[in-house]
């Protein structure tokens, strides 16, 4: 059973990423590496595809705190 999060729900996605990878500095990740973390989330299916600026926004929300 998996939970689905849309790419547009960035805050929700960030909460899940931060919980799964508490020691990661998102600013050190490029888009490919960040995408791999999203794709590898246990029990989470991320629907849709990232558009221009999505990785940048995700990285920012993660970095600037919960």
């Amino acid at each position: 059973m998996s939970t689905t999060i849309r790419w547009t729900d960035l805050e929700e996605l960030v909460d899940v990423l931060r919980a799964a990878h508490p020691r990661v500095d998102p600013r050190a990740l490029d888009d490919g590496e960040l995408g791999a973390l999203v794709a590898g989330l246990d029990g989470i299916e991320v629907s849709g595809a990232p558009g221009p600026g999505d990785f940048e926004a995700l990285r920012a929300l993660w970095h600037w705190g919960a």
């Binding site: 960035l10 805050e11 600013r27 600026g53 920012a60 970095h63 600037w64």
Partner: protein, 259 residues
Amino acid sequence: MTATQIAPPDGVWFGSELEARGVSGYDEGEELPDEYRELITQVVMVQADLESELVFDSSLLRHNILAAPDPRGRMRMAKFFAEEVRHGYTFWRIAKGLGVELTGRYFREAKRKRQEAFDHIGAVSDWTELAIVNTLTDRMGVFVFKDMQDCSYRPWAQVSLEVARDEVGHTALGYANLRESIEKRGRLEAAQRYLEKWYPMTLDMFGRSDSTRQWRYVAWGIKRSGNEELRRRFVEEVDPLLRQAGLEPPDYLFNRHFL
């Protein structure tokens, strides 16, 4: 867009004036040629005029932080501004190294010609407008500072590298806030209105396309690119982001004051 000179004139390239003198760059405290001192001081003062004032009057941050609609947003903005205050201190320190002592009185009484946008930012109290401001003006900062990462004034080169990295985070946070404001708070119409206010002001902040001074910055190895080149690269990057958020960027020449 109009046909405008993007490349430097013949005989001018990045650091050409320094090469002619057999110099690779300058450190703080070194004797500087008069024109070089004037130009590097101008570069530092443009940034200090905005961010160093925060070191003396933090009330300027109040409107911006309280514009956030929830505690999480306010916490993020407070962290954001902690970095801006650090930048302000750094610019203050470098100005001092160039012999310019910036004081609270200076900022209160300054009659310097400030960039138009700078005077408006502190008054922003609408969250969506602030998101537009950060998306645009902080991204402009990324372009400007990345362009000076190998500045011939070595203290400024080091600062530019750090500030550019921070500004990437600032503009990305602004963009995330903008997306949230449009998608979750139904503020598309307001965002478009604020975009039409801030987009031309941000493009103007890159400077005039026909400035002769811009090539002196290049010749002295202070800046790598001319104003129009940086402005066009900015537009190429930011327009797709704005469209992704559901906004329509204004025409390149719309409401521009400095072409």
